[in-house]
Amino acid sequence: MMDRLLRQAAGLGGAALGKLQHTRIPGVGQASTTEPADVAARRWRAVTVFRDDLAGPFPELEALGPDLEVRLQPAPGGRGTELYGRFHGTPGADRIGELRAALRRTKQLAEVGEVLRVDPQPHGTRKPTVQGAALEGAAARAPKEGVL
């Protein structure tokens, strides 16, 4: 019973994070995000990579399949290269999350040479609480979330 409750809490934590950028309370989340979800889903997602010579191939992006369109353009002011990705059609939230995470990994590989890891790492007793499970769900989903 408790395990089931904690699993549900973790799922809710991840889902809540997904909703955060669409919250329309002034001062919280992204109050300017007022467009319909299907319009937002068709936008280009982009990172700016601090490399003037950025060029493919980009394995992290290619792994997302042939319906992903990728383009590059120089960033203004010597900020490197803008790397864009967009799926054909209207992708769901999961696919957009995969694209966000892949763009971030691609940027790290180009700028630093490796993708930063944080787990496993030391920690003490993880109490089985609903709030804690929700936070773990949110943290697990965080690489795929955000406003990118």
Partner: protein, 391 residues
């Protein structure tokens, strides 16, 4: 190994936890000599930043010795005694190239949380919740440091552990505020908060050429430290109208640079203090910004207000009209420590910058819960509690 962990709201315990390991080629592992409490930890411990998971290792201001390094680490060697800024920065992104290290694009592996909150993600911070990367903190016998060539700075032989320890966060944060607040030779600088960060912001302003520096607090022992160890003027806000006092001390102008070093749990007197306490407890605002409001009111026309204290969310009654009509520059930042540590260590070596007085209490890591209690209650004149995991 032993580590001090957050076990729940207002609950710190010491447990046996697994030792860290190298996860990336740019990592090092440190054996921690000294690690210290910070006022911003209290926001985490008290549940004001609800992104801590029970079991998370606390601590983000520390000094240690390199005991193992990844294969891509070149500048740092095993055996080096190093101090490390609390923010994790890659050194390779555009923000790092601009020396805005706490804004590093690649320092927070969980950027979705803070992007959702703030629109962009700053870098990550050791021991500072899953919103800031979920890194294990420094209140432990050993610790992993990513991007070691960017973040680890060898401490000169002539600088003691205790003095160098505060180059990790208190001095670097203070220096960030004084420098990016635009302190120039001849300026008058006012600092709200006489904790370690406020004192070090004041000292940084003096070393950057400020002619008059005034620090505001209510705790007599901290105000005494300001006079004795920093060499700045001290004002007790519990007995003085701060804005009037500053106006009188500055020929009617107000300070050129106002640095807020208090944060989201600011205390204040009268109706304003009660208003903010009630709204925060009812979750109608997340933070108590009374020192920021006062800094904006006190600042001279065309002056600069720098927000160094940690805030997380919306605040109420922000004096936007005063800010706009007085032509103020308002800026904030977490510390860009990698930019300032070499200069700070040089000042520490010369004796121009001393910090030992901040370490009012030192104890073994096994007493972390008691150390935080004394620190939170400001008992026995506590300014900072330093833990020694090896003792």
């Amino acid at each position: 190994m032993k580590a001090a962990i957050w076990a729940g709201v207002n609950e710190v315990t010491v447990e046996d936890v697994p030792e860290p390991q190298l996860l990336n080629d740019h990592d090092v592992l440190l054996r921690i000599h000294k690690t210290v409490t910070c006022g911003s930890d209290l926001h985490l411990i008290g549940g004001y930043i609800p992104a801590m998971r029970a079991g998370d290792v606390l601590g983000h201001e520390f000094l240690g010795t390199v005991v193992e390094k990844g294969k891509a680490v070149q500048r740092v060697q095993v055996g080096d005694r190093v101090v490390v800024p609390s923010f994790v920065a890659c050194g390779s992104c555009w923000y790092c190239s601009q020396e805005l290290y706490s804004l590093c694009d690649n320092g927070n592996p969980d950027p979705g949380i803070t992007e959702g909150l703030w629109g962009q993600s700053p870098g990550g911070c050791f021991g500072y919740s899953h919103a800031m990367g979920g890194y294990a903190g420094s209140h432990a016998e050993y610790m992993r440091v990513p991007y070691a060539d960017v973040g680890c700075f060898v401490v000169p032989d002539g600088v003691s552990d205790t003095r160098a320890l505060f180059a990790s966060d208190s001095v670097t944060t203070g220096w960030t505020g004084a420098h990016l607040g635009g302190t120039k030779p001849g300026d008058v600088v006012a600092v709200w908060g006489a904790g370690a960060v406020g004192q070090m912001a004041a000292r940084a302003a003096m070393l950057l050429g400020a002619e008059q520096v005034v620090v505001i607090d209510r705790l007599p022992e901290r105000l005494a430290q300001v006079r004795q160890h920093v060499g700045a003027e001290a004002v007790d806000y519990s007995t003085t109208d701060v804005v009037a006092e500053l106006r009188e001390r500055t020929g009617g102008r107000g300070p050129d640079v106002c640095i807020e070093a208090v944060g989201m749990e600011a205390h204040s007197t009268g109706v304003q203090g009660a208003f903010d306490q009630v709204k925060q407890q009812l979750r109608l605002q997340t933070d108590r910004p009374s020192a920021v409001r006062e800094a904006i009111r006190a600042c001279r026309k065309g002056g600069s207000v720098f927000v160094l204290g940690v805030f997380a969310g919306p605040v109420d009654k922000f004096p936007l009209g005063a800010m706009m009509n007085k032509g103020l520059t308002v800026r904030g930042a977490q510390q860009h420590g990698q930019r300032y540590v070499p200069e700070i260590l040089a000042h520490m070596e010369s004796g121009a910058l001393t910090t030992e007085h901040l370490a009012t209490h030192t104890m073994p890591l096994s007493q972390a819960a008691e150390g935080y209690r004394i620190f939170k209650d400001k008992e026995d004149g506590c300014v900072r509690t330093v833990f020694e995991p090896g003792s």
